[in-house]
């Protein structure tokens, strides 16, 4: 089974609001000092899902990412988790927040990688969270799409996918090749084994530019975005929290009184 996993490097989403800074002019987020970028959470879980398939069946995993040269780190991370290969799609022309452009670039890279049985994406990115690259990519690749998967297994007819819905799970069967977006309910991603870390350190990571994957440059030009971000603000929140002083027990009593009076 050939699996392609699309991953993205994002600014650490766990930084606390007090450290979150933006530049409203350029509508960019200013990366906080000393906090390195990380792999987007859902993408990491997509990788985990791929690795679990590989643990169980014969599979080859290829990870791809669009990003700056720094983003090769997420490919390394993918390889250390279990991916066999990885490519960094890096070109100034790729710089964009538009989901269609992202999907287009990915589709071209996938075309170059060749035949696949399964493409995995995170359900949304942990930064801008547009939540649609997977579905658009599925349409571009003309394969069936299943979203919000938390478990994937192989059956005769293709794949059996457990999909998260608000009050339970749906079990679907879908033929391959297909595209599945992965939700966080997959569970915690594995810690890369030592062997794989060293492997990933040594592995050269090929960089593909627009010309390498036959991108029509005109499609990436400005004006082709489907959506555009015209404003970015950090919501102001003033704290109006009343802090109870005193011992924990006193506080507990105070809270109890208030709760009861409110119910």
């Amino acid at each position: 089974m050939n699996i392609i996993v699309c991953v993205k490097q994002v600014q650490d989403p766990e930084i606390p609001p007090s450290k979150f800074k933006i530049d409203p002019e350029t509508k960019q987020v200013i990366p906080p000092a000393g906090v390195p970028p990380v792999i987007s959470v859902y993408d990491e879980r997509a990788l985990e899902a791929a690795c679990r398939l590989k643990d169980k069946y014969k599979a080859k995993i290829v990870a791809i990412t669009i990003g700056t040269d720094k983003a090769s780190e997420v490919i390394r991370h993918a390889i250390s988790m279990g991916a066999d290969d990885g490519y960094l799609l890096c070109d100034p022309a790729f710089e964009s927040k538009d989901s269609f452009k992202t999907a287009y670039i990915l589709s071209k890279a996938i075309e170059k990688i060749g035949a696949f049985d399964l493409v995995l994406c995170g359900r949304q990115a942990a930064d801008w969270g547009a939540g649609q690259v997977g579905s658009i990519l599925g349409e571009m690749l003309t394969v069936p799409v299943v979203s919000f998967a938390c478990d994937i297994d192989v059956v005769d007819t293709g794949l059996r996918v457990k999909r998260v819905v608000s009050d339970g799970y749906e079990i679907l069967e879908v033929p391959m090749p297909c595209l599945i977006t992965v939700s966080s309910e997959v569970g915690l991603p594995r810690l890369p084994s030592g062997m794989r870390i060293m492997l990933a350190r040594k592995k050269p990571i090929p960089v593909w530019k627009a010309t390498d994957i036959n991108i029509e440059h005109s499609l990436l030009e400005k004006g082709h975005e489907h959506t555009e971000i015209i404003g970015l603000v950090v919501p102001e929140r003033k704290s109006e929290c009343e802090i109870i002083k005193g011992t924990p027990k006193e506080a507990a009593y105070e809270i109890a009184e208030r709760l009861v009076s409110m119910l």
């Binding site: 801008w128 658009i136 979203s147 998260v164 608000s166 339970g168 069967e173 555009e228 802090i243 208030r258």
Partner: protein, 333 residues
């Protein structure tokens, strides 16, 4: 934006023969947008028995209700719904499409967008119309709620998914007029690629999280599964439900369905008690609608205190037992 797309379409959802609340909320905001654009408001309903819901929908603001009584559409199926919505849109050419940020909306909107090539923003908290340019302006949280982005779409249809309870439904207006129009297209079952073969309902004991008046939520600070029973005890005393942060769900201390936040449930109870959780925006965005937030955290700088109404800085382990005990006493009286 020069094009021949007109009118606002709401993608409706039906449950047990009734229009669900979110659809009525969408009709309300859709109405406003349509009026601002000077266009009409359409509603689409799929599945057997939807035809007779058309009149009601009109009283809530729709101008035209399109429905399909096709049996195959009774249950949501991603492939079929995408197909039906796509061919409908290609025919009717709406300029705006609104979806609920629900199981269906979250799946369908991106797929439809992929097929039709519009511009979609998910999880919008506010929509308005730039009257000059006839643009839809969408505001949505990004970076886990740390920032709010304003997004416009350069393509049509302009699409958005909206969280339940963001808008109020309109008052029912029985005098409103409109058309209820059946969709006659036959559906080819072979369009189904991904087939639903089973459905597992997660059993919830006690009060349902989304409906609870009181939610007691725990995070990393709770430390293990066993400790959550104490939170449960508190929740039971208050007639509420327990929730959790993603960390607690990931650790397996509570089932994944109790996750509250950006990628979990959205709750707006009367009282939200946040214990041992830092209040990351991605979590807070799931409980901001709460009327009264109580926070117990040992870190005085934790973000939860920026949104809470009442807080105590300290170890929850020292607070919860006397709190439970005191509540028992007070309730006993």
């Amino acid at each position: 934006m020069e094009n021949n797309h007109r009118n606002v379409l709401v993608f409706g959802e039906v449950l047990m023969g009734k229009i669900v609340p979110i659809t009525l909320e969408l009709l309300a905001i859709g109405r406003r947008l349509a009026d601002d654009l000077g266009e009409e408001l359409y509603l689409m309903l799929l599945g057997e028995g939807t035809g007779r819901l058309g009149e009601e929908a009109i009283t809530f603001g729709a101008d035209q209700v399109y429905f399909s009584e096709e049996k195959l559409l009774n249950q949501y199926n991603s492939d079929l719904y995408t197909h039906v919505a796509d061919s409908f849109c290609r025919r009717v050419l709406p300029s705006v499409i609104l979806f609920g940020h629900t199981d269906i909306g979250c799946d369908l909107a991106p797929r439809l967008n992929g097929r039709i090539g519009g511009g979609l923003s998910i999880d919008c908290m506010d929509l308005s119309i730039d009257k000059e340019k006839k643009h839809l302006i969408m505001r949505r949280p990004v970076f886990g709620g740390n920032a709010i982005a304003t997004v416009i779409s350069n393509r049509v249809p302009q699409m958005a998914t909206i969280r339940p309870k963001t808008f109020q439904p309109l008052e029912k207006n029985l005098s409103r007029q409109g058309d209820v129009i059946p969709l006659e297209e036959k559906i080819d079952p072979s369009l189904i690629k991904a087939r639903v073969v089973n459905y597992i309902k997660e059993e919830v004991e006690g009060v349902k999280l989304e409906e609870a008046e009181v939610v007691v939520s725990g995070g990393r600070g709770i430390e293990d599964k066993k400790n959550f029973t104490l939170l449960k005890e508190l929740a039971d005393l208050l007639g509420g439900a327990i929730g959790a942060t993603r960390v607690a769900c990931d650790e397996g201390w509570v089932p994944a369905h109790l996750q509250i936040g950006q990628s979990g449930k959205v709750v707006s109870p009367k009282i939200y008690i946040a214990i041992g959780l830092s209040g990351a925006m991605a979590h807070i965005s799931g409980c901001l609608g709460s009327k009264y937030i109580v926070a117990i955290n040992k870190d005085s700088e934790a973000n939860i205190f920026n949104v809470a109404h009442l807080g105590f800085v300290g170890d929850w382990k020292e607070v919860l037992p006397p709190l439970i005990e005191r509540l028992r006493e007070l309730k006993g009286k």
